[in-house]
């Protein structure tokens, strides 16, 4: 399949990209292209201009900032999977990245692209939610920080405004336990349901593919905070949620899986 025709611009710097984007509301950022290009080929997206930020080297890094780790938006899944720093300080994130798609996807896809895309079925947005991370964005009117828990708004819709680019992802170092449960039929596939649990102080739990956006399992977290058991907390896994029904799973089965996987994730996390 071929995408509809479009203009292509290679951005040399973040400012450069921002200025093109803020002048043209039909322009879109191109990072690894592994979410955007498939949509364009299916003609589900037809941006007039692609602003390729792939060449902006200073957007790819993983740095120790003392109390947190800072990750440049263009860092590839492969680099997150294999970073020594992350394996030591946030092994959870390396592990999640290792389960994204297949090796070729992990060599192209970027963490910034995955989060900006905001797909409820993706692994990394849920991981950053469970880490309660911060997202640094820059736009025509400067820089701002958005909490991951406030970033995902609707189906493929985020808090990024026109002309804004996600620059950096900040995640805390993990001191307690963690777990990521990805349930799928083939290793290369998206999660049918995924559950991330991380203990940094208190335990945070997020869900993959249980709704139109990446979700925090607040009811589960509340139950735990109020001294509920793992059993009780997992029973609340899908409270108030309307998971999708598709070829891989009905909504009802997804709700059941969420319970089982939250139970497993919490058991693993709290045992550490």
């Amino acid at each position: 399949m071929f995408p509809a025709s479009f203009e292509y611009v290679k951005a040399n710097s973040i400012r450069d990209a921002i200025s093109i984007l803020s002048d043209d509301d039909d322009a879109k950022v191109l990072a690894g292209g592994h979410s955007l290009l498939p949509l364009m080929k299916l003609r589900l997206a037809a941006p007039g201009t692609l602003v390729d930020i792939g060449g902006i080297r200073e957007l790819s890094y993983i740095e120790d900032k003392g109390d947190h780790i800072a990750i440049g938006a263009l860092t590839r899944h492969h680099d997150i999977e294999h970073s020594g720093l992350l394996k030591e300080s946030v092994p959870f994130l390396s592990y999640v990245a290792s389960l994204v798609g297949d090796p070729s996807v992990r060599h192209r896809g970027t963490i910034g692209g995955s989060i900006s895309h905001g797909d409820g079925a993706s692994d990394l947005p849920a991981a950053v939610l469970a880490l309660d991370g911060d997202l640094v964005v820059e736009g025509p009117s400067g820089e701002r920080i958005i909490k991951a828990s406030e970033f995902f708004i609707g189906f493929l819709e985020t808090a990024l405004g026109q002309g804004e680019i996600l620059k950096e992802i900040r995640v805390p170092k993990i001191t307690g336990g963690w777990s990521y449960q990805k349930f799928n039929r083939r290793a290369q596939d998206w999660a049918i349901v995924g559950v991330a649990a991380v203990s940094v102080g208190e335990t945070k739990v997020s869900l993959v593919n249980m709704g139109s956006v990446p979700l925090r399992a607040y009811a589960t977290e509340e139950t735990l905070k109020n001294g509920g058991s793992i059993e009780e907390a997992s029973e609340k896994a899908s409270e108030g949620l309307q998971p999708p029904s598709d070829l891989n799973a009905s909504a009802e089965y997804r709700k059941h899986l969420a319970k089982v996987l939250v139970n497993r994730a919490l058991t693993e996390t709290l045992a550490q």
């Binding site: 071929f2 025709s5 349930f183 039929r185 290369q188 070829l247 089965y253």
Partner: protein
């Protein structure tokens, strides 16, 4: 292995020679059809129906015509006068079979999502694709028929001119009285109803073609990603009324077919028609999603099988009844595919009474046709599930029920109740070897342990014993089945002046490694190095005669033709050598490429020398024709009947329904083996494909007839990460039907594996009272089965 005539001191056949095809494939140098350079070529793209069934009210092509670079836009109405005949179906299975006229482009109505309605020619493929998107077709949608049982009711008739959705009813009822007696005297009767879901063959390379009209003479060269260059050539000539002598068909490197490229497709006929009309070369490459819609699907059956058994579990009679999904039209072999299994619903068991009936039905879906195994995986699934149902009902171990029913070794050649003669077989040692290899009794113990601990992990062990009929086919048998071609294969073996050998074969390899295996056969027979043998194929101007590659026929039919032609060449060479060495031909020995006079070490002549003498023709026996070359056309006297035992072990997670294939053992008997590594490759790929059917793959349509699984994100082809290491073994029971004792291996893996896996899944779930799970056994289906009461 039995001895086969050879002239090498060291056998070439039986060795694990690396495939000579692989370097160019692995380095990306191989030329597939889309890699062939062509100047001044037009790109073809097809407008396809987005709906399952509709009347075409109007087609507006004006926007497309206005696009810069668009050269032509044609609808069915524009082209219909150029087609002498509808698209071919070569298998009229009953005299009254109903076959709707099917043209390369729909004219008045569309009958499946993907049906072609218009065609664009443009200077560039992206422009062609934009033009397709700009064409407006107005449809008046009609209610589609999607379900087989609903189709059989004729409440909605898809092709009104036929008056019914039933294409044919084909029955094989050798002795009904005997069958009735078997069932009425039976101590046990078990019944199964199984769905063979539709599969999308998903060859790695979709279809594609390039047609090049020659500037003068009215000749055309068609390069097509096809399994059947020879058959395609004849069919194009007949369907389009073009002289066969003006058509050359070439299959370049072909990236898999699995039966889906054993067809004559609309695009091939369209490209021919338009090349003739425009005088220009035309290229078309199928897109992946287009492949899911416009290339034939496989399977698509509802099977009912009944087994009658005596109190020892000995099967007395079998009754099989199928509804088979033809899809919207009959393609080349559509109606015959289920019948290829019709003789094998008793598997490798000695069953005296038998009946088989198949009703071919139209639906508003992509046409079905041959898909790896074609009819035999379905038959094997039904009988092997049936045997497990019987074992379960009687409380007998699944291995034991099979032992009790095998056709005993002494009965070969075995005349089966449906009327075949099984060439050779020795089933019991094959089963025992597989049981031993998998550690059967230990696994059963482990299963018992887990169950007694009330574990949430459930272990399942599934057996599948199979026999298949391959080596298509004795021409006379095909005649009795109303198939409109023969089943022979042709080969020419030619010694070149320098002593190198050229083999021309009518087989059309598309991944099977024929170049390697055929060279090994010749090298073995001539006592020379396989590197000195060149194999030519898949070009009708180089290899004019052939019936191509499908149905595990290439080795047992095509390879035998090569073996025999090589023998003829050797006979002639012997006469030349005898003449020159001035002895009688009988006085010559032949070994390792040299003729020598018995009892004398001096008087000898190398084969290469003989070849040169045959070329110069300076000193040949009186009356002998120059050059050293022979042709054989081999029509096999019978099918061949490979067999084997596959055992799958699965683990099921009770909480999620997740199923993991954890161990897989296959012991196959494909007769003598030419290259065991290639045999293993065929078996492994086949198993993976069958596991795909058992656990992952299904062409899913919604209630309006939209195909929902049109990309590889939804149509779940398994990869290596989903599969354990297969543990393979072999037994060797040569076929008496050909001189090399070979049987064929192309389809065995995917014939055996689906029932092995499903038997394992059902075995794991038997403690929940589960008796059957339809394929693909997805986690959700399994979870539902566990939790229903």
């Amino acid at each position: 292995m039995t001895a086969v005539e050879t002239s090498s001191s060291e056998r070439v056949t039986g060795q694990r020679l690396l495939r000579r095809e692989d370097p160019e494939l692995l380095t990306g140098e191989a030329k597939f059809v889309d890699d062939l350079a062509q100047q001044d070529v037009l790109h073809m793209a097809i407008v396809r129906s987005p709906v399952a069934r509709a009347k075409i009210i109007s087609i507006d092509t004006s926007a497309a015509r206005a696009i810069d670079g668009v050269v032509g836009v044609y609808t069915g109405r524009d082209l219909k006068d150029l087609w002498q005949q509808p698209m071919p179906c070569a298998w009229v299975v009953t005299p009254d079979m109903k076959n709707p006229a099917h043209f390369p482009l729909a004219v008045d109505s569309v009958n499946y999502m993907g049906d072609a309605v218009a065609v664009v020619l443009a200077n560039d493929k992206v422009i062609a694709s934009d033009a397709v998107a700009s064409i407006e077709v107005e449809y008046e949608e009609l209610p589609p028929v999607l379900d087989l049982e609903e189709s059989a009711t004729d409440k909605v008739v898809i092709h009104p001119e036929l008056g019914t959705n039933t294409s044919y009813v084909w029955a094989l009822e050798p002795d009904n009285a005997k069958l009735e007696a078997a069932f009425s005297s039976a101590a046990h009767v078990v019944k199964g109803r199984f769905v063979q879901q539709r599969l999308i063959p998903s060859a790695m390379e979709p279809r594609g073609l390039l047609i090049v009209p020659q500037p003068y003479g009215g000749e055309y060269t068609l390069y097509s990603s096809t399994q059947i260059p020879h058959i395609l050539k004849i069919m194009i000539a007949v369907t389009l009324g073009i002289s066969e002598s003006k058509i050359r068909v070439v299959a370049p490197s072909v990236g898999g077919g699995f039966g889906s490229k054993l067809n004559v497709y609309a695009e091939e006929l369209l490209a021919f028609t338009l090349a003739k009309k425009t005088g220009k070369p035309i290229r078309w490459m199928e897109e992946r999603s287009e492949n899911a819609l416009a290339t034939v699907h496989g399977r698509g059956q509802i099977q009912e099988i009944e087994l009658a058994a005596d109190s020892d579990g000995k099967v007395l009679g079998i009754r099989a009844n199928l509804l088979a999904d033809m899809g919207a039209y009959l393609q080349l072999l559509t109606p015959g595919v289920p019948l290829l299994g019709g003789f094998l619903y008793h598997g490798l068991y000695d069953v005296a009474a038998y009946s088989f009936k198949c009703t071919g039905l139209f639906t508003n879906k992509t046409p079905t046709d041959a898909y790896r195994g074609a009819g035999r995986p379905e038959a094997t699934f039904a009988i092997e599930r049936g045997m497990d149902l019987l074992a379960h009902e009687m409380g007998i171990d699944p291995a034991e029920i099979r032992r009790r029913n095998f056709i005993p070794k002494e009965k070969f050649p075995y005349s089966s109740s449906p009327g075949l003669v099984f060439d050779s077989g020795n089933y019991l040692p094959n089963l025992e070897m597989a049981l031993e290899k998998v550690g059967y009794s230990k696994l059963r113990e482990e299963q018992f342990q887990l169950r007694s601990q009330n574990s949430k992990k459930h272990l399942g062990i599934g057996l599948s014993c199979y026999v298949e009929m391959c080596g298509l086919a004795p021409s006379k048998v095909l005649a009795s089945l109303n198939y409109s071609a023969g089943g022979w294969e042709a080969a020419t073996v030619r010694l070149l002046p320098t002593g190198k050998v050229q083999v021309v074969t009518g087989t059309a390899p598309h991944g099977q490694g024929h170049e390697t295996s055929w060279a090994m056969i010749v090298a073995d027979r001539l006592g020379i190095n396989p590197d000195d043998v060149e194999v030519l194929h898949s070009d009708t101007s180089i290899s004019p005669h052939g019936l191509d590659t499908y149905g595990s026929r290439s080795l047992s039919v095509g390879g035998t033709a090569i073996f025999m032609a090589t023998g003829k060449v050797l006979d002639k060479a012997r006469q030349i050598a005898a003449h020159q060495l001035e002895v009688a031909p009988e006085d010559l020995e032949y070994q390792d490429g040299n003729f020598s006079v018995k009892g004398s070490s001096e008087k000898k002549m190398a084969l290469g020398q003989v070849a040169f003498e045959a070329f110069t023709a300076h000193n040949l026996p009186d009356g002998m024709e120059p050059t050293l070359e022979a042709t054989t056309t081999w029509d096999p006297p019978n099918f061949t009947f490979p067999f084997g035992t596959h055992i799958a072990v699965v683990e099921i997670d009770e909480d999620t329904g997740d199923v993991k294939l954890v161990k897989y053992v296959a012991v196959d008997d494909v007769g003598n083996q030419i290259n065991p590594m290639i045999v293993e490759g065929q078996i492994e790929g086949g198993i993976a494909q069958g596991v795909g059917q058992a656990l992952f793959e299904e062409a899913i349509y919604d209630e309006s007839g939209n195909l929902l699984t049109s990309t590889l994100a939804e149509y779940l082809v398994p990869s290596a990460t989903e599969l354990p290491n297969f543990e393979l073994g072999s037994t060797f029971t040569p076929s008496p039907s050909n001189p090399m004792g070979v049987k064929g291996v192309g389809e065995a893996g995917c014939i055996a594996s689906p029932p092995a896996v499903i038997n394992a899944v059902v075995d794991a779930l038997s403690t929940f009272g589960v008796k059957h799970i339809d394929m693909p056994a997805s986690p959700e289906k399994i979870w539902n089965a566990i939790h229903q009461d």
